[in-house]
Every structure is written in C-alpha cells, then in structure tokens.
C-alpha cells in the first residue's frame, strides 16, 4: 500500500516559536496524533503527545514543585519537538515506512502530509481483518420458557441461529432466561425469605429446562443463566457480565422488548 493513501493531509501545523502548552492542548484531543512544526516556511520537526509530555513539567509531584510556572509557561514547541522526523516520499510503501520508523533513516523534503505509527497500525488491522474476518468469542441468546406455541417457535429459531453462529466462530454461548416472578435474591444465590424454597425449586427447574434445549455436542461451549425481574434489564445485565459481543433474541424487530434492548444494548442485537 502506498503511503499517500494513508497519510493525513490536513494534519495540524504549528510554528516552532508557539507556546508548548497551546500545542499540547491541540494534541490532547488526538492521542495518536502528530503536529508538523514549521519554522519560517521550512520543516523544522514534528511534535507528538509523547514529545510534549517529555518536555513539559515532571509528572512526579516532588520534582514538579521545583519547576517555576513562569518558565514552564514560556516553553515553546521548539523546546519539545523532534528535530529528526522520518521523511518519506508519498510513493513509499507502508512497509518502507515501517522499516524507516523502526530504523530511523530519513530522506528528502516537502511536507505533503503526516503518517503516524497509529495510522500504520490501522492499516495493518484492516489488512489482517480482510484475510481473517474478526471472530465473535461470546454470544448471548435470550429465550423464554413458558410461552405460547408462536413464541416457542421464534425462541427455537433464535436458539438455532445462536448455536449456528457459535459453532462457526468457535465462540462461547450464554443461554439466558429471565423469570418475571423470581426473587432476585434467590436468583443471585443469596439468603431469602419463607417462599425461598419454592422459588429455588423453580430456579432449578428453569436451569434444567434451559440445559435440555442445548444439543449434546454444544454443551461444552454453552452455559445457562437465569435471572429475575425485567426482561430487558436481565438481558442487558447478563450481556454486560458475560461480555457478550452479540445478543440473539426471538421476536419481531418491532416488538417493545426487542426495540428497548436494541436501544440500550452495548453490542449488536439480532432479532429472529
């Protein structure tokens, strides 16, 4: 890949005599960024957030107290900039640039843009992802147990879809059921009141029913989760604790529960 397709043409330019504090503020919004430093129309160097940090006051308080604010505010970009940036022609390949960055050999001049390590890593990510698409590693499927024949059908579809994706990606699947009538303390295994025995029995029954839904060959990659309370809350909490990257659920995309989950989920939701 030619570097001209990667470079940032609109990268910021600062004058060498400008205040370092002001330049650092501009860099703060872009941690992977880099400013081009010009001095009288000529390239003088570059300034990265790390350079600004290195030249600024010490990060250790007991050393920073010995730095006079009057002087630190007088620091200029020229005090902090890297004077020997790696310079490459726009036709250089990213491989050339990576090599130059590692070994720091510079060549001739006219500023057309800036390429940072972050940009190169971004291009590496893209290329690797084309070769091997990113895999999902954790999925969550929400199913309802006590349901009408129609709901059961859509639940089985959701489960089949989730199991299929899980197998293809070599992922782990969490099979979740949210019970409205269940005490939260019982679901979380905490001490509970008089009704607790009945509730515990219902919880165990739900877990067993969930486990029966999983085909034998998928048992090692599937775990069951039963939660109490509101369905949407339960799905979102389970997705957060298991780190789910995809939520699969039965139901039309327009259904209230599905819509609410899509709105609040930390990851994509697949409604079947």
């Amino acid at each position: 890949m030619r570097i001209k397709t990667l470079m940032r043409c609109s990268s910021g330019i600062v004058e060498a005599r400008e205040s370092l504090a002001a330049a650092a503020m501009r860099l703060a919004s872009d941690p992977g960024g880099c400013l081009v430093v010009m001095d009288g129309g000529r390239l003088a160097g570059v300034l990265t957030p790390a350079d600004a940090r290195a030249a600024g006051p010490s990060t250790v308080p007991c050393l920073a107290v010995h730095e006079l604010p009057a002087f630190t505010s007088g620091l200029t970009v020229a005090d902090a900039m890297r004077r020997d940036p790696v310079i490459v022609p726009p036709d250089a390949t990213s491989s050339d640039v990576a090599h130059a960055l590692r070994t720091r050999v510079a060549d001739s001049v006219e500023v057309m843009g800036v390429v940072t390590t972050t940009d190169l890593l971004g291009s590496l990510v893209e290329r690797l992802e084309q070769e091997t698409p990113p895999r999902l590693s954790r999925l969550l499927v929400a199913v309802s147990l006590a349901a009408s024949p129609g709901r059961r059908r859509s639940m089985h579809t959701a489960l089949d879809v989730a199991l299929d994706i899980t197998r293809r990606h070599g992922a782990m699947l969490t099979l979740l059921h949210v019970m409205r009538g269940l005490s939260r303390r019982v679901a979380e295994g905490l001490p509970a009141g008089v009704e607790a025995d009945v509730q515990r029995w219902r919880l165990a029954e739900a877990r067993a029913a969930l486990a029966r839904l999983v085909p034998r060959e998928d048992r090692s990659t599937t775990r069951v989760d039963v939660r109490a309370g509101d369905v949407v809350e339960g799905v979102l909490n389970s997705a957060a604790t298991t780190g789910a990257e995809l939520i699969v659920m039965g139901g039309r995309p327009g259904a209230a529960v599905v819509r609410e989950t899509i709105r609040r989920a930390p990851c994509p939701v697949l409604a079947t």
């Binding site: 290195a54 007991c62 050393l63 690797l128």
Partner: protein, 137 residues
C-alpha cells in the same frame, strides 16, 4: 491462517516496584531499544513503565534543580509512583490483528500473559515489523 502474537515476543526487561526511575532507565537501555519495562512483584505483573513515561517524569528545562539534584532524585523515586497500573493484557494465542487493534486504539504496550506468567510485551516496534513483513510478501 490466523497468526498469533507468539512470533512477535521478545524477552521483557523487568524491575521490582521499589526499583528507582534510574534502575528502570538502565533496564530499558540494556534491553536494546525496548519500549517499556514491566514492573513485577512476587512473579506477578503489577504495572508497566514506558520510555515515554520515564521521559515525562524527568523535569522540564524550567527546573531550578541542578543536574546532580535531578540525578539524585531519579535514583530515589520508586517506579511504583509513575507506573501504569491498568495494563492491557493479552495471551500468546491472541491474533496479531487484535493486538494491532488495541495498539491503534492507544491501549498499548500490551503485556502478554500465559496464566499468571509474563511471557512478553508487544509494542509499536513489534507490530511495525509485522507491517513490514506483511507488505513484503
């Protein structure tokens, strides 16, 4: 085939949390151009100090301390006081693409752990050599 970060691993310079900034700088230099020093206590990774962190800890040109006083301070201040505690960790099986993604998003350098054991660090230099390799194929 998905390649993992195993092929990128290099030995990691490590210091104790009580080691001084001077010790950390020496460890970094002796590692030959590494980006970071691991801070290890009882064989467990507790933090990371990068070359940039060490540079940022040094006083600016506006300091009133003499060179000798700065040197003395660097030989006294423990790395514990400047180390990053929230180190992004990966395993040897982590695909290179995932490591590059974390680095691109500014989460690096990455500590590579096998169980509790630190087996390497992956930083920009390791991944740049991967950019070189990929392109020249």
């Amino acid at each position: 085939m998905t390649r993992d970060v195993r092929s990128l691993l290099r030995p990691v310079p490590a210091v104790e949390p009580t080691a001084t900034l001077e010790d950390a700088e020496a460890a970094l230099r002796s590692s030959g151009g590494g980006e970071a020093v691991a801070v290890v206590h009882h064989d467990r990774l507790v933090g990371l100090v990068t070359a940039d962190d060490l540079a940022a800890a040094r006083p600016s040109a506006a300091t009133t301390l003499s060179i000798g006083e700065v040197r003395g301070a660097l030989a006294r201040i423990p790395v514990e006081s400047i180390m990053r505690r929230d180190v992004a960790t990966i395993v040897p099986d982590t695909p290179i693409a995932e490591a590059a993604r974390l680095m691109r998003d500014g989460r690096g350098p990455l500590a590579v752990l096998a169980g509790d054991d630190l087996v390497g660090l992956v930083g920009a230099a390791e991944l740049l050599s991967e950019v070189e390799r990929e392109e020249s194929r």
